[in-house]
Amino acid sequence: MITTIIRVFIIYTVVLLVFRLMGKRQIGQMQPFEFVLTLIIADLATLPMSEISIPILNGIVPLLTLVVFHFVLTSLTRISTKFSNFISGKPVIVIDRSGINYKSLKQLNITIDDLFEAIRGQGYFSFSEVEYAIMETTGTVSVMPKPAFSPVTKADMQIKEQSDTLPLTIITEGEYMQDNLNLSHKPKEFFDNLLKKLNVKSVKQVLILTITKGGEVFFQEKEKECKVFNV
């Protein structure tokens, strides 16, 4: 039994390494060949985990070989557009100004209902609201609405933009984040004093404390309500 546990740990570590080397992508963002690769990896990993008579290397070697192939394939797709189009396909315009492109739908093997569902998923409930729709290589549909149905932007309203920075998380679950503390250009004592002012006895009591460049602080103690204020 201990052997199985150790084998599971080793294979899990290798699979984790394999996915890290493959890069971060969600299932919906995967190219078809990446999706197939994920399924194969899942299948390969389970065999030596459950079957002790199979050497662990019989599971690890195919996994590592797949990583190398994937690396070669993605490198080639970056180098050659033709190869990339061959492997991943090209985005296809399914709706344009003249309406639904039936030829493209047939080519993509999708029905009007599938297209309608994808467009509804983007927040448009009628084909008349859509100027262009493009089926991406990942299988998602990108929609460009007609001007009358596109959301109003700040630029449309001529509202002056106020650039803001991302809030930095200084304390999370009772721990100071050293990297973010350095980025905030404020000493640790500044936040220690802030906690004293907020009647917090120990940093361990803090659930989260974030600060923006403008000095807006979001603070919450564990099992208490949040506070937002400026410093």
Partner: protein
Amino acid sequence: MNRTLGIILICLFLIGLCIADELLVDSTLHQIKLTGNKLYAYAQQLDSVNDKQLITEANNLLEFWSSRESILSFLSNHKDIREMGIELTKMIAYAKQDIREEFNASLELVIYYTDAFHQVMGISFQNIF
């Protein structure tokens, strides 16, 4: 850059493993087949298989297999490897009991396993497809 380095390391690991696999499996199987054939030829000259030299040679073969078995377990299915060990042990037992037919059958099986193992594990057109 880190990813490229990782891929290079993986490639080196795979190449090293392939070379080790080929050399180790090849040399082990070759040695067993060679000794097996010698034992077979020697046994045919004897009136009784309960021969001191034959048993010593068979024991040496089993010892050699046992020393390589643990390393081969890293590369091959444990069930396949176990079969070879079982047959070698049986062969020695039959020799001690002077059962010639069973001794010959076990020895032939050992030689057959080395061939079969080679055919299944080696690089060949049939194995790839």
